[in-house]
Structures are given as C-alpha cells and as structure tokens.
Amino acid sequence: MVDARFKPGAKVKVRKAFPLGHVRTPFYVRGLTGTIERLCGTFPNPEELAQMRDGLPEQPLYRVRFRQKDVWPDYRGSAKDVVEVEIFQHWLEPA
C-alpha cells in the first residue's frame, strides 16, 4: 500500500498525460488544478489490473473538486458550481 500524500483541502494538479490503456482519469480534468475533497481509501491500480496484473501496491484514491469555470471556460451556470472526480494519487502533483 502506498502512503497518502495529500490531505483534504490541498491544491493538486492532475498530470497532463495521455497513456494508452485502461485509465480512470477523465480527459476533461487532465492538466487542471483542483482541491482534495477526501481520501476514499486505497485500491488496486486499474491501469495494472487491466493488463491482468495484480495492481499492487494499492494506490490512494481521492475525490478531487474542480470549479466548473476552470473545467469549461465558457461554462454557463453559477461560478459556485463544481464537479468532483475520483483520481488516483499517481495522477496528482502538488499545485
């Protein structure tokens, strides 16, 4: 199991990477900065599981909150609106 690096409230940046394979980080948040909402626990790495490997060590999984205005510059709706996405730690860097 990999130790959790980020605490709730921390600013994080999602890696802007485009590896092939079974990746659970949606395209629309790659390269964006958000805030850790909570740690969900640790889970086997889905990118490894999809290759028939064991996905170990387990990776911390977070809920990361993004402002809709940051995700879609032309977003129509309140500036308060947010989207929360589950992202594995190896996709996050301190921002």
């Binding site: 949606p26 809920r63 809709q68 709706g77 589950e86």
Partner: protein
C-alpha cells in the same frame, strides 16, 4: 416477403461470455439454473432499498451522520446485503444540489439500487451532465436556483454514489414507510427531488 431479421455474429465479448459460461457449467462449477436465478435477482432488484435508507436518515439524525461518514457500513447496519459496494452518500441542502454521473462508462450502485435506467448509460447524459448540468436538469423538469451550488459527482473509479435528498415540508409525523414512498430512483441520482404534500 420473409423477414430474415438482423443477423449479426456474436461480438468478441458475447462470445467470451458464452464460452466462459459453458465451461463453468460443463465443469460443474455452476448450473444453468443458478445463473438464471442470479440474473432474475439482478433484474428484480429495485431502488426501494435506497429509498428506505433515505427515509431512515430523515428520521434518525445519528444514522444520517453515520450514513454520510460511511455509506457502506450504514447500509449494512440496516441489514442490507450490498457485497463489494463502496458507497458514498452525498447530501442535498438549501445551498447544494448533488447529481451523479459516470462519464467513463456507466458505474452505478446496482447492488443497492438495481439496474440503471437506459438514459444513465447514454452518451448524451454522460457527456452533457458534466458540461451543462443546469440545462440537463431542466430537461428532467428540475430547475435549480442560480444561488444553489450544483455539485456533479463523476463516478470515475471505485466508489459508488447515492444522493440523500432534502425531506419535503409537510411530512412531520410521517412513518418511515410513508416517507420512503416519496423517494424514487431519480431522486437518488439527483435528477429529481421528492415532492411532499404541499408541492
């Protein structure tokens, strides 16, 4: 004219499913009966258990606190069988409205709420609910005031989500069962809100 139908060969995954199923039954590890039973159980599972969880949370503040802290444990406490489910319950308030979507595929808390509706799996819902949630909610007949924050939950990995809606006014003395009757599937996904006697 004789209708020949639309014959299509099995897809890769359909073929894999048939092969695996036949191997398992040939080896005696599973019976056809058992598989049929399990499929029926899946089909018959509805959202009612989710509605019951909501009604309990409305009536019991301590349970509600536990439900928001650890959705899985709180459901197990009610005796619900939810094997493997990692449940996160998100609460609607006067300030925040929550809605669930899975943009990558169609992750859904099936073991608690049953099979997802077709629209939940559609490309239209999955792409537009993150991009223009207020417009999509309006199409469902739900107008969320501008001052209320919309919080979209993209079920992108291992957790599954359920919305805890606000209890409608005018239901003060209602029983758990009667309250549960106000909560439908759409309320649990956040594309609708429960209607009370005054609405």
């Amino acid at each position: 004219m004789k209708d020949k139908g639309k014959y299509q060969p099995l897809s890769y995954f359909q073929l894999m499913e048939v092969t695996l199923r036949e191997l398992l039954t040939e080896k005696g590890l599973l019976s056809e009966e058992r598989i049929t039973q399990e499929v029926e159980t899946m089909r018959n599972r509805g959202y009612e258990r989710g509605a019951r969880v909501v009604a309990r949370a409305w009536l019991d503040p301590a349970f509600k606190t536990r439900l928001l802290q650890n959705g899985t444990q709180a459901c197990e406490e009610l005796g619900l069988e939810i094997p493997g489910l990692k449940l996160l319950v998100v609460e609607n308030t006067r300030e925040v409205h929550n809605t669930i979507v899975c943009t990558l595929c169609s992750c859904y808390p099936r073991v608690l709420l049953g099979l997802p509706p077709d629209w939940y799996k559609s490309r239209n819902y999955r792409s537009r609910m993150v991009r223009e949630p207020r417009a999509v909610l309006k199409e469902f007949g739900l107008r969320v005031p501008e001052k209320v924050q919309i919080r979209i939950h993209d079920s992108s990995a291992d957790m599954r989500y359920m919305v805890l809606p606000m209890r409608p006014a005018g239901t003060a003395a209602w029983s758990e069962e009667r309250l549960a009757g106000l909560v439908n599937r759409d309320c649990l996904l956040g594309v609708a809100v429960p209607k009370g006697p005054n609405d």
